[in-house]
Amino acid sequence: MALATDAAVRTVALIGNPNTGKSTVFGALSGVQQRVGNYPGVTVEKKTGRMTIGERKWSLIDLPGTYSLAPRSPDEMVAVDVLLGRRADTPAPDVVLCVVDANNLERNLYLVSQVLELGRPMVVALTMTDVAESRGLAIDVERLAERLGVPVVPVQAHRRVGLDRLKSALATASERPRTVGESPFPAPFRDEVDRLAAAIAGPDGAEKAPLPRYLVERLLLDTSGYLEGHVAVHGRADLAGQLKDGRARLAEAGCPVPAVEAMARYGWAARALEGVVTRPRERRAGAGDRVDRVLTHRFFGTVAFVVLMALIFQSVFTWAVPAMDLIDAGVGWLAGLVEGSMAEGPLRSLIVDGVIAGVGGVIVFLPQIFILFFFLGILEDCGYLARAAYLMDRLMTRLGLSGKSFIPLLSSFACAIPGVMAARVIEDRRDRLTTILVAPLMSCSARLPVYTLLIAAFIPPAMLGGFVSLQAITMVGLYSIGVIAAAGVAWALKRTVFRGPTPPFVMELPPYKWPSPRVVLYRMLDRGWAFIRRAGTIIVAVSVVMWALLYYPRLPDEVEGRFEAERQALLHQAEQADDPKATQQIELELARIDARAEGLQNRRSLLGRAGRLIEPVVRPLGWDWRIGAAALASFPAREVVVATLGVIFDVGAEVGDEEGVSRLQSALRQAEWPDDRPLFNVPVALSIMVFFALCAQCVSTLAVIRRETNSWAWPTFSFAYMTALAYVGALLTYQIGMLIAA
C-alpha cells in the first residue's frame, strides 16, 4: 500500500455505530470548515471537512453511521467503497478513524473487527466515557489498544477533551502501514475465501484491479445477492455457481453463512474485551433507567409523548410567527428602500418583486426550520427520538410505514419543509421516500390564509345541532382530507412503486444523556444553511420567472394614459378641497385606481392569459379563468393565492390585514360570470379549498424534496400526483356540492 508523500494532503475517514457521537467528533475536528454534498446516484450525504495537524493539511470524510460494513444497497456500498479507496470522486483514506462508544463495546467491536480487516491504518476514538463512568464501568484503555493492535484515544468531543491526542494519533498512524492481525474467522471460512479469491483472479493471477480481500469475503457472506450484482467480475465464469458451492461446503463444515460472521466477530470481541471492562457488581439502575421507565410507560409514556409532540408542533406553528413577521418586515423595508432609490421600470420591478421577494421567500422559512431542528436536536441528542419512534410504530405500520416516520409527518402539519428534511432519519429508502412524498399532504400553516378567507366569506356561521360550528367542521374536514389522502397515497405507494418486504424495525434505544448545546446548535444551523444553499437557488429562480410572467406584457401606453388621466383629475380635485374627510376619500379613490390598474395588468399578463387558456379545464371545478390564474400564480407559495385574488379582483395586493380581508371577501361575493351568475358559492369555495388542501403549490417544498432525494424525478412526481389529486378532489367537491345544493 502506497504511503502518502510528505507534501500531499492526508485523508481520514470517520466510521462508527449510530449514536456514538461520531458527528460531534467530526465537528470538533473540522470546526467550521465543513461541506455537505451528495455522492452521485445515491441519497447518502457527502460530509467533508478540513483540519490541520502540525504543518500538514488534512481532509476529513464523515461516513454514515452504521452497525456493520455489509453493503446490501447502493447507499450502504458508498461507505465500503470510500474506505477501500474505490471511488473516483473520493481519495482513499490514509487513516480510518473508528468512533466507538465506551458503553457498548461488544457491539461496537463488531464493526471495528470489520474495519480492521480493511488493512488501512486505523485509530479508535473512545467516546461517552463520562456516561460509562457514571454507570460504574471501568475501561482499561491500554489493554484494549493492545488487544486491538491500534491506538485507542478516549475523547469527549463536546467538551473538547482528548482532541489533541487524537490528532497526533492520526498523524502517527498515517506514517506507517498497518499489519493486519489475525482473522477472527475459523479456518474453513478462510480457506473458502482463498479459493474464491484465486478463482476470481483467474489463471494468470494478475488482475488489473484485484478485488480487495474484504470484498471477496463479503461475496461469500452476502446472501442477498446485492454485492454479486454490483461487483463486476469480468470473464470469470459462473460466480453465482461458485458462491453456491462455497456456501454449501461451509455449511457442511459447520460454518454456515451468514451466521459464521456474527459468531466469529462477537467471539473475537468477547476475547478482546476480557479483562478490559469491569462492570459494577450489580447493574446500577441509573437515572436514565428511571426516566425511561416513565417515558416508555403504557400510560405516562403516552402522556409525556403527547405533551412533547404538542410542544413541538405548537412551537413550529406559533412561536415561529414573530420571527417570520420580523423577516417579512425586513424584506419589505429593503424592498421599499430599493423602490425609493431606483427609477421605475423593469429593472427595479425585477429586483424588488422578483429577486428580493424570492430571497425573502427563502429566508422566511428559517425560523420554522431552526425551531423544529432545535427541538429535534435536543430530542435526538438526549435519546428520546428513538423512544418516540418506538411508541408510534404500531400505529404507523397500519399505513405501511414505521414509527420513524411519525415526527417528520407531524412536523409537516406546521410546514412540510422541515418535515421532509427530518425524514432523513429513516434508513430504509422506500419508507423514507414514501414519507417524503406524503408529507406535503399534511395541511401546512400556509394553507390557513386560504381556508380562513374562504370559510369566513362563504360558510355560514351556523351551529350544527346547536353547539358545533359549521365553520369549525369545515376546517377540521379540510385537515382530515389531507391526512386521509396521505394515508391512501402511502398505502398505494407501498403496494406499487415501493413494494417490497417490510424493512426490519430493529432499532437501538440509546441510553439517555444530557443533550449537548454545542451539538444541538450545530445541527440546527447545519440544516438551515443546507436549506438556504440547496433549496434557496431554486426558489429564487422560480420567483424571478413568476415575476416575469406577471410583469409582461406591459399595459399599452394609451391604457396607462387613461389611468393617469383619472389620477390627475382626482389630484386636481384634491387641490381644490379643504375638508380632511374629502382628502381621505380622494386617497381611497386613488388607491382604488391603482388596484384597478394592477388588476388589469395582472389579467393581461402572460400568467393571466395562461389562466384564460386553462379556463375550460377549470370550469368543471366551478372556477373561472381568474381563479385559475390565481391558482397558477400560487406555484411559488400557497399563501400567494390570497394576494393574487386581491389583485385580480381589483382589491389590490394588500389584503393581509383585517380591513383588506373584508374588502376582498366582499369583492369575491360580488364577483360574477360574464352572464351575471354569481361566481362564488359554497361548492366553489369548497372546491378551491379542497384543491389547495391537496395541491403541490409550493416550490420550496419541491426544492427540498429535490435536495433530499438527490433527483429531479421525485419532486416532479410529487407535483404531478398532487396536482392530479387536487384536481380530482376539487372536481368531485364541486360537482357533488352542486348536486346537493340543487
Binding site: A70, N103, L105, E106, R107, Y110, A259, Y390, L509, P511
Partner: protein, 76 residues
Amino acid sequence: MVTTLADLSIGQSARVTAVEAGGDLGVRLLEMGLIPGTDVSLVGKAPLGDPLVYEFRGYRLSLRRAEAAVVAVERA
C-alpha cells in the same frame, strides 16, 4: 412455554439458541448481537403491546413482535 423472544414477560431473561429467519431480518439480528448463546431479557412493551424492548450485551434494542418471534430461546 417460552420458545421465542416474543414469549418472554417483562423482567424475564432467556438464552438465544437460534435465529430462524433468513434475508435481511436474520442478518440484522445477528449483526446486532443476537447470536446463539446470548443472554437476553425483556425490559418493556409499547402501549399497544408492540414493539418490545430487550436488553443484552449492555444495550437496549426494540423489536417488533414478529421480529422477536424468529429468535428461538431457552430459559437459562
